[in-house]
Symmetry: C2
Subunit: 136 residues, 2 copies
Amino acid sequence: MGKRKAAEPDISIAKCGYRLLLEIIGSKWAVLAIYAMEGGDVRYGEFLRRIEGISKKMLTQTLWQLERDGLLERDIHDTVPPGVEYRLTPLGRSLLVPLRHMKSWAIDHYPLVRKARDAFDQRADLVAGGETEGQS
Amino acid sequence: MGKRKAAEPDISIAKCGYRLLLEIIGSKWAVLAIYAMEGGDVRYGEFLRRIEGISKKMLTQTLWQLERDGLLERDIHDTVPPGVEYRLTPLGRSLLVPLRHMKSWAIDHYPLVRKARDAFDQRADLVAGGETEGQS
């Protein structure tokens, strides 16, 4: 490891799979909306209730974006008033597989992250208690 | 809203693995910074060069957060001026595994997403053409 990178911009980052990925699920609301549909159809009001902290504006935008990307489809029921249910398309469901890997990682490693965070904050407190030094 | 009577908030979303995950890598810059360190040590200026569009402020904040969470460590070289290199910790490297699953999904499915997006935009154009002008 530690090989020196070339001096010119590494454009591969701009074009790599992570950029594509982040273009699709760059917002946390997208991930949570996909998760909300994991178990089946979801109505608009259900998203609002189930996803803590999401605003109507953000929900509408997120659903629009997921539909545009082919991850979500709307099922419009011929009732009065018309009912709309949202569900994952097969493409959207295929994304659940790697998302579950990520989720498992988070569940398994969260205790270590918390431990690191606490230790870091303790060191920061010590430094702040001693002498404050400009951080650049 | 609350039309249906399954009215309790689904708190599982607030506490589920996805929330934990998004707490750790909720920003796209975090994902891209991790990716930049995939091949070895990286200096501050290299991040700036390699990650298109990242600001100094956002980079500093992202590195700080990754270090606080135990995903990244700094290696300070005893040179004049002192050199600082950033690298993934074993915990950080463990996150590369599910991230690669996500990246593979993105690379494999991006063409389908693009296709869906184009079809969606065409339909939207048709609707806009029928109703109003100048909206895209």
